[in-house]
Symmetry: C2
Subunit: 115 residues, 2 copies
């Protein structure tokens, strides 16, 4: 089944709550809406792929900011602290291994529904 | 380093010759231009992720055609025969494990330069 990313994104409004839209080699393919700051975190076991579909997203690293617009992607290497912040609403494609906690910490992570 | 996918795609014109633009969990992130038919093939060891960025791409399967436009993705499950065909030029994001032969067969695969 093909996935229309904009159609999936039109089904929800809450931010920093990823939805799973597909699977690939034991990874979840997700879409998320971002607005304002997320939290500083890292993933020790996985890289973290961000592809901006709409809007603008800044990936804050401890030593620089990565500014992403539509059609731009960035991979945060495993173990690297980062904090996404969107100064306007951004729609983002994420790919992470299945069951990766979005905050880097299972105690604070949100569940990620499949849509 | 962020990756602007359109900028990467503007640096070459040949079709069905993927360029590597990034890495993610032992996978290559690639962009490719497609026009006309590719070849029927399968990958026994990996799923195959296609995200159309521009144009239209049809993923022919043995029992159906998957028609993709911009912002639409499809994952061909491992072991499933498929043949992409683009009736107009399409620009596509691909993600596959490093060193996956694009034709499914190392004897006929193209090398994939990093750009």
């Amino acid at each position: 089944m093909k996935v229309n990313l904009a159609a999936k994104l039109s089904t929800f409004t809450d931010t920093y709550h990823p939805r799973i839209v597909g699977a690939f080699n034991d990874h979840d393919i997700m879409v998320v809406k971002a607005e304002g700051p997320f939290v500083w975190h890292k993933h020790d076991e996985t890289d973290d792929l961000f592809l901006v579909l709409q809007g603008r997203l800044t990936i804050q690293l401890r030593d620089q900011d990565i500014e992403l617009g539509p059609g731009e992607l960035f991979v945060v290497p495993r173990g690297v602290e980062h904090c996404p912040i969107a100064h306007e609403e951004a729609h983002v494609l994420l790919i992470e291994p299945r069951d990766t906690p979005n905050t880097g910490d299972p105690a604070t992570a949100v569940s990620k529904p499949q849509i």
